[in-house]
């Protein structure tokens, strides 16, 4: 044994200039995996943590036992879901543009991942609390958050409920079950567990939901949250959105030798499953199952949503420097909007024509709100929020030293 050891480094299947290559991605057929009992234990979901729950097949048909969880949802809900996703994407497109025009400092889009947040939100009820990242805006859109407030936050103007305190997409909307988003990755995952513990301890009949990206599962908070959820078993759903990338870093770096992110939870004794996140029906079905489980006090569950980040990481990022330009198009699980549309057409509840019309409606809604909100100020033409707001809310009551500073600022 005289030769030394060599480190291993994870690499994406393709780099710029190369052909996108998803040949190593396993694509289980839709409808194959059995439904798990609501009180499933970690030991009994090894397969579900390593494979992929899929409900919609190539023809747009809902197949297999998980489809049973769709019965709660009527076709209007599905059409609303389609509209949520279109709205989310339209806002992303318009805002990326506005950002490029210098009207806002920064923007983060969620293109390609719309099914997850939009679908999941449909299974929540009033009083449930999400602990999202910057990329779960779909929760707000599907949750009926007023677009004025959503856009106001991007433009940091009078419409902004946070009065310019936070970067665009770092929303906070307590009344819509959306915890104040932190720029520090991971931290919210533990808060979700603590909030759920509070719900249990104060006899509140609500659940909480942690959200985290694949890259951020590497954070200490991911461990902390799983550990705490494992120790106390509060009513919390822990979502991992695996979109293959963490800025420029391939998901393999965070995954290491592990097979899936879901499997990581099993070691903590937390049941975990893996879902095709581009399949709106699978999202609905599994979210329904998971919320039922957790509400019934069977303890935490982790869901890995398997998807692909089609857009740049943020408006500051240029992914063509680290991955093939058209990798998103090659994603073998398709586009969530296209797929749901196909399903609705397949079941005779939608048409190409209605789709075009819906697109136009969504666009005109967004354009109208955008105009109205932009009139209240953009970064090009700011309508300043008073400087004194800097000091508001540092504490509930302003202490003397901050009062003096406010005075020094002259406001």
């Amino acid at each position: 044994m005289t030769s030394h050891c060599k480190l291993s480094f994870a690499h994406p299947p393709a780099r710029p200039g190369q052909t996108p290559d998803f040949s190593s991605v396993e694509i289980p057929k839709a409808g194959l995996l059995p439904v798990l009992p609501l009180d499933v234990t970690a030991a009994d979901c090894v397969e579900h943590a390593n494979s992929l729950i899929r409900v919609m097949d190539e023809n747009g048909e809902a197949v297999g036992p998980w489809a049973e969880f769709l019965t709660r949802f009527d076709v209007d809900t599905l059409r609303a879901g389609l509209r949520d996703m279109m709205m989310s994407r339209t806002i992303d497109m318009r805002m990326m543009n506005a950002q490029r025009q210098g009207k806002m400092s920064f923007y983060i889009q969620g293109v390609g991942e719309e099914a997850i947040a939009c679908g999941f939100q449909r299974c929540l009820k009033a009083g449930d609390m999400n602990f999202p990242t910057y990329r779960q805006q779909g929760l707000l859109i599907a949750g009926g958050y007023p677009l004025e407030m959503l856009l106001g936050q991007f433009y940091s103007n009078a419409f902004d409920p946070l009065q310019g305190r936070q970067l665009p997409t770092l929303h906070s909307a307590r009344d819509y079950g959306y915890f104040t988003v932190s720029g520090n990755l991971g931290t919210q995952y533990v808060h979700a567990v603590g909030w759920a513990m509070a719900n249990a301890l104060t006899q509140k009949d609500n659940i909480s939901i942690g959200w985290i990206g694949d890259g951020s599962t590497a954070s200490n908070d991911f461990h902390t949250a799983l550990l705490s959820a494992s120790s106390y078993s509060p009513p919390v759903i822990l979502n991992v959105v695996n979109n293959q990338w963490a800025i420029s870093t391939y998901t393999g770096v965070a995954k290491g030798r592990g097979r899936t992110y879901a499997a990581r939870a099993l070691g903590y004794g937390i049941p975990a499953i893996r879902v095709d996140g581009n399949d709106y029906l699978a999202v609905l079905a599994v979210s329904e199952w998971a919320t039922r489980r957790v509400r019934a006090d069977h303890g935490p569950v982790l869901i890995e949503w398997y998807t692909y980040r089609v857009g740049a990481h943020s408006s500051s990022d240029d992914p063509s420097a680290y991955r093939p330009r058209d990798e998103g198009k090659a994603w073998p699980f398709g586009d969530p909007i296209d797929r749901l549309k196909k399903h609705l057409i397949h079941i005779g509840e939608w048409s190409e024509q209605r789709h075009v019309q819906a697109e136009a409606e969504v666009l005109s809604t967004v354009v109208e709100v955008q105009k109205r909100v932009e009139a209240a100020g953009t970064m090009i033409d700011p309508k300043p929020i008073p400087g004194a707001t800097i000091f508001k809310g540092v504490y509930a009551e302003m202490p003397e030293h901050i009062r003096r500073q406010r005075q020094e600022l002259g406001v």
């Binding site: 305190r165 520090n184 533990v190 808060h191 603590g194 513990m197 509070a198 705490s228 508001k392």
Partner: protein, 337 residues
């Protein structure tokens, strides 16, 4: 009034609050069944049940992070970090989350958590049971930081902290848990049981955060300090026979600016004392405030006596601890300048 040790006073505060407010929960490493390595929470789980007082895994960021989630959802967690020296895994949650949730959410959410931790040296604890990290918290807007030095204040301030709408770092000078300590480790240990400041009212009372306490009135020099150093200062002053005013700051963020400024304007001389490492310690901030507000009243440069810029050494504890001799030297220097 009862005579209590500081440990008993702290326990009493938690007992009072657990009884008054069902939203109060207490947790941390070993605090549940056993009652904490310093026994501060002894008996509370038995009295209030496991849902109110419980043990956690050894993960300080979990202790604080869970507390933040609970606090945001309306509870009043009062958590224990076993030693201040172990708070750093929670530093991200404390400084980036607890301290900022109210502000960044424009007051949609808040974070009324109390984070208790024993601090300071004097028990031969070495570099991982002796630290005084207050300056690492006083630099963070959104936090409050308190450090009582008597059983009476400990109870009253802990109740205030638990009723505060914002996160409070509650530092407990462990060398004072059982009695006052004047820095002379060779002298027999004193107890709070026969000390005036060990008198602790029963039931609910509170001491406002942000107000200093005049430990000793005087006109010749102002000593600004807190924690164990209050008693070291007192002993030095008594042995020198100086008419010093000793101000126990006890609230380190926010500081009681009026009390500081008024006293130094009166005396024209000032010494600042703390056990923590010197460079970038809280004394720097206090001196900056003093020189800004009292420049034209100062008759001598403000002196500071602090711990050295080195890890707290186990065996050389008394070379590290800023004892009476160093305090006296500084007092003489500032009086003679």
């Amino acid at each position: 009034m009862a005579q209590l040790t500081m440990i008993e006073a702290l326990r009493d505060a938690m007992d009072v609050m657990l009884a008054r407010d069902p939203k109060v929960v207490i947790f941390g490493e070993d605090v549940g069944y056993f009652g904490g390595v310093f026994r501060c929470t002894s008996g509370l789980q038995k009295k209030y049940g496991e849902e109110r007082v419980f043990d956690t895994p050894i993960n300080e960021s979990a202790i604080v992070g869970l507390g933040i989630g609970m606090a945001a959802q309306g509870m009043k967690p009062c958590v224990e970090i076993q030693f201040a020296d172990y708070v750093y895994p929670a530093y991200d949650q404390i400084t980036q989350e607890a301290a900022r949730i109210r502000h960044r959410s424009n007051e949609q959410f808040s974070c009324p958590i109390v984070i208790r931790m024993p601090t300071g040296g004097g028990i031969f604890g070495g570099q991982t049971h002796s630290q005084s990290p207050e300056a690492l918290f006083t630099h963070v807007a959104g936090l409050k930081v308190v450090l009582p030095c008597t059983p009476h204040d400990a109870k009253g301030l802990l109740i205030s902290a638990m009723e505060d709408p914002d996160p409070v770092i509650f530092l407990e000078p462990k060398r004072l848990y059982n009695g006052p300590f004047n820095g002379d480790h060779k002298a027999p240990a004193q107890s709070w049981k026969n000390h005036a400041l060990g008198e602790v009212p029963e039931g609910h009372y509170s001491i406002p955060i942000g107000k200093a306490r005049v430990h000793r009135e005087g006109a010749a020099v102002t000593i600004l300090t807190y924690g164990t150093m209050v008693f070291v200062a007192e002993a030095a002053v008594n042995s020198l026979g100086i008419d010093a005013e000793i101000i126990d700051l006890r609230s380190l963020l926010p500081l009681d600016l009026e009390a500081i400024e008024e006293s130094v304007r009166k005396t024209g001389r000032c010494v600042v004392l703390h056990e923590a490492t010197k460079t970038s310690g809280l004394a720097g901030e206090i001196i900056a405030i003093v020189q800004e507000a009292c420049f034209y009243h100062l008759e001598a440069p403000v002196q500071r006596v602090t711990g050295w810029d080195a890890p707290y050494p186990h065996a050389l504890e008394w070379d590290y601890f800023p004892g009476q001799e160093r305090v006296s030297r500084a007092l003489k220097a500032v009086m003679e300048a």
